[in-house]
Amino acid sequence: MENANFITVFLDWLMTFETSALVAAATAIGVGLAMIAGIGPGIGQGIAAGKGAEAVSYNRKSGKQATMVMLLGAAVAETSGILSLVVALIMLFANPLIGMEGTAIVMVASAIGAGLSMIAGIGAGIGQGIAAGKGAEMVGKRPKHQSAIIRTMFLGQAVAQTTGIYAMIIALLLLFANPLL
């Protein structure tokens, strides 16, 4: 045992626990990992807020409209954070892996993987925030075109969300319809 590889020792040690305990532990890691996606909306909304402040400073008259567009865009940029929260809450309160029969290591990896996949939300959050910022900036400059700008901004943000949606599909598949189990 002294010469054994560290990884082998670790895996052997893991196997001394019961399956349900292992899955619960992996769920805890996965829930924490899923919430890392919050980085994205944070950065994105910060960018949007900065651009909004800039727009207001250039043109006080259209300040209200720029603020409104900034808030709307930032609310959409929050979506990936909400999706991560949903996956984390499902894993905490309605985890289908707990109590399921199957290979312990695959279930453990699925729980961690479901959390890991949600990290993709960072990209969508930042991208949507940039779009919201640009929208606020341009509404500040040309308040007349507000409705057209908001429409284009929402459409682009919806498309930017796509990879985050794919991440959520994979996370839900790993939890509810896992083909590996």
Binding site: A75, V76, T79, I82, L83, L85, V86, L89, I90, F93, A94, R151, F154, L155, A158, V159, Q161, T162, I165, Y166, M168, I169
Partner: protein, 233 residues
Amino acid sequence: MEFGPQIIFEIPIFGGIPITDTVVNTWIIMIALTIFAIVSTRVMKKVPTGKQNVVEALVEVINNLTSQTMGEDKKYFSSYIGALFLFITVSNVLGLVGLRPPTADVNTTFALAALTFLMIHFFGAKSKGVGGYLKGFMEPFPFMLPLNIISELATPVSLSFRLFGNIVGGLIIMALAYGGLLSVSEAVGLEFFPIFQAGIPVALHLYFDIFAGVLQSFIFIMLTMVFVSVAMD
């Protein structure tokens, strides 16, 4: 906790067809929208008054949106787009009256996205001719064919899961918030009368049901219009 659609009853043919609350709530929306359409258009006047004003404004908004987004020559899609918008919006805000939104079931959203998918390819082939339509898959280079096919197949998936994910996310968070407020009420000894469930969830309803609900239905119809008009041009 169970977040999926619940089976309400079974139709006792073919070994029992399960009917979930998704289907029942869809029927409720269908009946409500039909009654709304009949009542608001029964007595039409040249100069609109009352409820006819509201309906005419609604129709005009959707007509303008369609002709602006798809072009004046494709204005005839506005009847489908309007019906789609009304159905999805009413579904999304159904959480306000305590019913489960049908759009919180991936079967509903995927059916709607499949309609969009069929429209993209049917009208694309119709306006470009079958040859020109098939040639579109070889653009810009012939070896892009597999990638083009994958991206076409990804369209209904992302369209349906965007709507589903947003609505079911709101549904789960609302359910947990109500559960949490119930346990707060129990902690102060008011389990028979959960006072904290009154008033406090309004902000959550405002964001998840009204803002996200209307925004997602708007995004769904906008993407449908853009995809179909791009396929036709």
